[in-house]
């Protein structure tokens, strides 16, 4: 009842919340992050369009690093375990998350997947996100760094069209460079210019999973992460 005149109308009470709507996800991500740090695990959230070459990047990483480091992976797709099967064949223990219709992984899904113990004793955990340049960007999973795979056939202006994804990236992998002889119009400087407008600390490594070009530089980049304290690995804080 209205407490001014007793008329029976309801009162409107304003409640100030000022809370990020992703705060529940962020809390779970912080839990995942603490778990990774405690176990000396460098977690890498690998994002990119469907077909950008994310799985091929991990297969090439296994060839280059699989004998000296223990790798593990969680893969996200709407349906099928195909990527996880490919990664297991490449020697990377992998758990698959099938999201049904969800367009991204969230911290809770990763947390559940960790219960499969796939990452036990690993040095690196690669989280191969759902192929999508939009939705995965806003979900912190607890990773040390975000890496975005961008293939040479996707167009130089993709970073300008999907700024949220690239703003969150600590590194961009320009993939499928073995195709460049068939793409004479490809303009690497245009990609670098686009990245400079959306990434505060633009970093790009050009690689080919097929030929192995650039893979040593990529492996050097992730090995360098191990040398840094956990809070100094990403270019920006996870809740940025």
């Amino acid at each position: 009842m209205c407490d001014v005149c007793g008329c029976g109308d309801s009162r409107i009470v304003a409640v100030d919340v000022h809370e990020r709507l992703l705060s529940t996800n962020d809390r779970t991500a912080a839990h995942n992050r603490a778990h990774f740090v405690e176990h000396g695990l460098v977690a890498i959230n690998l994002m990119g369009s469907p077909g950008a070459g994310k799985t091929a990047v991990l297969e090439a990483t296994a060839r280059a690093l699989g004998t000296t480091r223990r790798l593990a992976a969680i893969t996200g797709d709407l349906e099928t375990e195909r990527d996880a099967i490919r990664l297991r064949a490449a020697g990377i223990p992998a758990a698959a998350i099938t999201t049904g219709s969800a367009c991204h992984l969230d911290a809770e899904m990763v947390h559940h997947a960790l219960h499969d113990d796939v990452a036990h004793g690993a040095d690196y955990l690669f989280i191969e996100n759902v192929g999508n340049l939009v939705c995965p960007a806003i979900y912190d999973l607890g990773q040390a760094v975000n890496v975005v795979a961008l293939s040479v056939t996707e167009g130089e202006d993709k970073p300008l069209k999907y700024p949220v994804m690239f703003r969150k990236a600590d590194l961009v992998l320009l993939t499928k460079t073995d195709l460049l002889p068939a793409l004479p119009e490809f303009d690497r400087a245009a990609v670098e210019d686009a990245l400079a407008r959306v990434m505060p600390v633009p970093r790009m490594i050009a690689i080919s999973g097929r030929t192995g070009a650039g893979i040593n530089q990529w492996v050097g980049w992730i090995e360098d992460l191990r040398e840094r304290p956990p809070q100094a690995r990403a270019a920006h804080p996870p809740d940025d």
Partner: protein
Amino acid sequence: MHEYSLVQAMMRRVEEEARARNATAVHRVHVRIGRFSGVEANLFATAYEVLRPGTLCANAELAIAPEAGEWHCGACGTLLPAGAELVCQECGWPASLMRGGDLVLERIELEVG
């Protein structure tokens, strides 16, 4: 289409507040959507229309305040022009996103009987 799961998260949070205060209904919900939050305001509003029937928010207006993005120099604080390279022309320092990166539940107006 992560907007649907975000609206669900928002409605759970709103219902928590409503229950805690014995509200009979929700009158209005205010959210702020940043230009670089990765959330599309129109899709968020559509998801809200789809999801609100039968909930405490059934008759609640959704008030969306869009927020522009603002990049500032991480060292000297200079505002960078939109679309420019994200490095300060004065001191060469990388830019920081100071506004427009978040999706925030700002305020809930509850009807209390």
